[in-house]
Structure formats: structure tokens, C-alpha cells
Amino acid sequence: MANLGNSGKRSTPRASAKLNTTAVDEFLRRRGGLVSLVLVLGFLAVWEAFAQTGKLSKILFPAPTLIFASFFNGLLDGKYTQDLRISFTRIISGFLIGGGAGMVLGLLMGWSRRLRAVLDPIIAGLHPIPKFALLPLFIIFLGIGETSRIAMISLGAFFPLLINSMAGVLQISPTYYDVVESYGATRFDIFRKVVWPGSLPFVLTGARLSLRNALTLTIGIEMVFGNKGLGAALWLSWETMRMVDMYSILLIVVILGVGMVGLLEILKRWMTPWHQGNHRGGSEST
């Protein structure tokens, strides 16, 4: 009797648990974003409450409402405009110079077995070096001006685009080359019909990672030397204990990063509509 009761009890919760799991999965699949939003708002509300009641240091952790007010005021009266413009220019310059060079070299290395044989070991050796560690070297060779900053940011943007572009070309099925070559394609035809469109999803994944590296390096370099740019402003506000300012600038950096990466994601969707159905993505190699 006891056995029978036991087994009955055991099976019932299991079945209902299974039902619940699928219901939860279904809800999260549809409304997962909403749950995230609630979590974030909840966190801010708790923070606000603790700050208002004095349970948190008002100096180190000012109330979110104060931060947002300072953020919007700062935007409106142009307090951050110059720093934002300087940082943005550096990010984009480094991304275009370093990322562009990385993309071109990556595509060529993917296409040419000879070039790959020569350069791949060099790239493999240089790639894992934390780029920031090279800052002193850059200063020695290029001085402490804008040149060495842009050069460092470019270097950070160089590798992700190089490696992903190369991987993008290498994953193209050899049959596609046969297809166009059988119709008498020139080398330029092969590039524009096969190599470029075939590697584009990977190139754009590389671009996202390059952009992220450019942002990281820009803020980092600005924190270490110079007195302009978001990184410098962030560091100065920290050193002078203007924490409301620090959080406002941090918010700008976050929005800048998310915005740029989001733009690239939209670009990817728009440029490679054929890639939506068969998500193979790119290798996530920074």
C-alpha cells in the first residue's frame, strides 16, 4: 500500500513539473525581453531606495534619478559634446584604418594559399598579445600625440576583422568557385560573385568585434593619457569625486557601444538577407 502511494506521489509532481517547464520556456521565448526589463528596473528601484534612505553612500553611489537628470542636462547643454566627438572620431578612425586593413588582408589570405602559408604563423603569434601592453612601444615610436593613439586603436581593430574575413573566405564551398569558373569568370568576377558575398556574414561579425575593440582601446588610452575624450573625462570625474558625472559618462559610453554594435547588426541583416535561414554565424574571435 505504502509503495503504491509513494509511486503515485512521485509520478504526479514529475508530470506537472514537466508541464510547468514548457510553459515557462514558452513564456520566456515570447516575453524574455520583458523579464529582463523588469529585472533592470527592479535593480534601479532598489538602488534608488537605498540611496534615498541613506543606506548607500551618496557620494559613491548617487541615486539613479540624479544620474539620469545629470545625464540629460549634460546632453542638452552640450557638456559632453566635445569629448563624445573626439572619442567617436578616434573609434571610427581606428576602426576604418585598422579594420579596413584587416579585412583586405584577411580576404587576401583566405583567397591565396601562398599568402596564408607565409603570414598565418606571424598573425597567430601576434594576435594573442594584449594590445594595451604595447602602449609604451607605440609612444616610443610615434610619440604621445594623436598618431600613436589612432595607431593603437587601429591595431585593436585590425585582428578581429582579419581573422574573421579569412575564416569567411575559407568556409566558402569550393563548388561555388567551380560554378562561376565554368561560365568563364574572371578573377574580379570570382571576387564579386563568390569571395565577397560568401564571406560577408563573417566579415560583418568581424566588424562588430573590431568596433568593440576600438571602443575599449579608445576609452582605455584616454584614461591613461591625454585630457580629452570620454575616457579622460570619466577618469577626471573619478579623480575629483564627481560621481554623478562619472556615471553619466559611463552611460554615454554604454549607449555608444550598444548603439554602434546594434547598427552593425542591422547592417548585417540588411546586407545578408540570405543568411538568416541558415545561421552559421561567424567565429567569435577577438
Partner: protein
């Protein structure tokens, strides 16, 4: 245009150790508008032979001559991945013409007309991954025929399809070919398909691939699927099977 292959061999030993896909001592002629099927065990160099005729590979020895044309145009139909995934159906069908520098206005008209003819209209903006395997091969056929090639090279175009779809596409190919008479080299491992479609069936044996038999198929044209019951087909089927069975048994160490 007549194609003459003389003493063709292909040897990959220089680059790799693979024995498969090599060819030796290939001699045959293809008459203009002739449909030649090639069957053989896998690894016997069928694809290599097609690529040599297409000019995608250079033979190690021997030569191919084309009588009646100095620069023969070819169209290649592959087993799969013959469509470029980043191009729509319409762009894929027009690709051959585009690479042959046909002006875009003319190209567009031709593509649309051909799509209508083989009932692909309505799919022009689809991407290959949105189509079934059978539809993809129909698009590949359309592209190949539309370039109006001297030689049509088909590398197991229906091998990846299910049996029913394959039958329908065989019929479709016969139907198009009845109007657009091309010289065709058709590689397959399906014996019935080889006989049904071909004026001749060339049987290759492997390692390295060489011509074992060259069989004429005396079934009158135009043919349709009823030719599958033709006594000639049944007779040739067993003749080819006897050759291939020996090969396959050897490969499987069964003899």
C-alpha cells in the same frame, strides 16, 4: 560541335597521395547533340572527367579537341551547392548570362521568359535555402540551359533528391532537352537513369578510372518515362550491372 578526347589521363600524385579520382587512357568522341551518360563506382574519376571537359582542370596527358568551335561554351550542373546562396532565384538563373556579359535588360527578359516556360515564375525573389532540393535543381537546370551552351555537363544532378522527385526531374530534363538539343555529358551512379537519358552509356571502372564499356542505347526518341519498361533498357541494365558488381565487390573485398 563534336568533342574528341584523346589519351586523356589525370594524375593527382604530384600533390596528394590519393589514387581515387584519377583517370587513365580515356578515349572517346561525342557527336553534336549527343546525350552521353557516364556511370561508374564512386571514386572512378567521373567528376574529374567532367571538370576536364569543362576546362576547370587540365589533363595530365592527352588532349581534347572541339570540332566546329574554337571556344566552346559549357554549362555545369552540380549535384548540390550549384546555386549561390547569396543570390535570389532570378539572379542565380541569370548568373551564367551575366558572366558571359549579356546586357542586363536582355538578360532579365530571357530569365523571366525561361522561368515562365518551366513554371518557376513567382519564385524569382526566393533564396536557395527557401526552396526544396528538387526546386533548387530545377533552377540549376534553368541557368544551364539559358546560357545556350555547346556542351552541358551534369554531375549527378539528381543524386541528392528523393526517388519520386528524381523521376519528375528526369522527365523535365528530357522535356527541355527535346527542345534545346545540347551535347550532354551526364554523370550518374543510377544505371536506369543513365540508360533512360543517354544515347550512349560509358561505363568507367576505377583506380584509376578507365573506360570499360561504351554501350549504345537503341531506344527511339523522343523518350519519356515509359522507356523505363523498354526491353533494351532492361537488357543493358544487367550488362552494366555485371561490370559494376565486379568492381563494387572488389572494393568491398567481397569477391
Amino acid at each position: 560541335m563534336k568533342i574528341i578526347l584523346k589519351n586523356i589521363s589525370k594524375d593527382f600524385a604530384k600533390y596528394t597521395k590519393r589514387e581515387v579520382d584519377a583517370l587513365t587512357d580515356i578515349n572517346f568522341e561525342i557527336e553534336e547533340h549527343e546525350f552521353v551518360s557516364i556511370v561508374g563506382p564512386s571514386g572512378c574519376g567521373k567528376t574529374t572527367l567532367l571538370k576536364i571537359v569543362a576546362g576547370l582542370l587540365k589533363p595530365s596527358t592527352g588532349e581534347i579537341s572541339y570540332l566546329g568551335s574554337t571556344q566552346p561554351s559549357v554549362a555545369f550542373v552540380f549535384q548540390d551547392q550549384g546555386l549561390l546562396p547569396w543570390m535570389t532565384v532570378m539572379e542565380n538563373i541569370g548568373l551564367g548570362l551575366e558572366l558571359k556579359r549579356v546586357p542586363s535588360a536582355i538578360r532579365k527578359d530571357q530569365v523571366i521568359a525561361f522561368m515562365k516556360r518551366i513554371k518557376l515564375d513567382g519564385f524569382q525573389d526566393h533564396y536557395p535555402h527557401e526552396l526544396s532540393g528538387g526546386m533548387r535543381q530545377r533552377v540549376a537546370l534553368a541557368r544551364a540551359f539559358l546560357t545556350n551552351p555547346d556542351i552541358l555537363l551534369m554531375d549527378e544532378p539528381f543524386a541528392a533528391l528523393d526517388a519520386q522527385t528524381r523521376i519528375i526531374l528526369q522527365e523535365e530534363l528530357l522535356k527541355i532537352w527535346r527542345v534545346e538539343r545540347k551535347t550532354v555529358l551526364f554523370v550518374t551512379h543510377d544505371i536506369d537513369e543513365a540508360i533512360l537519358l543517354g544515347d550512349r552509356v560509358i561505363v568507367l571502372t576505377d583506380r584509376p578510372g578507365r573506360i570499360y564499356e561504351d554501350i549504345r542505347v537503341d531506344i527511339k526518341r523522343p523518350r519519356d518515362l515509359t522507356a523505363k519498361d523498354h526491353p533494351v533498357l532492361k537488357e543493358i541494365r544487367w550488362q552494366i550491372w555485371e561490370i559494376l558488381e565486379k568492381e563494387v565487390r572488389q572494393e568491398l573485398r567481397l569477391s
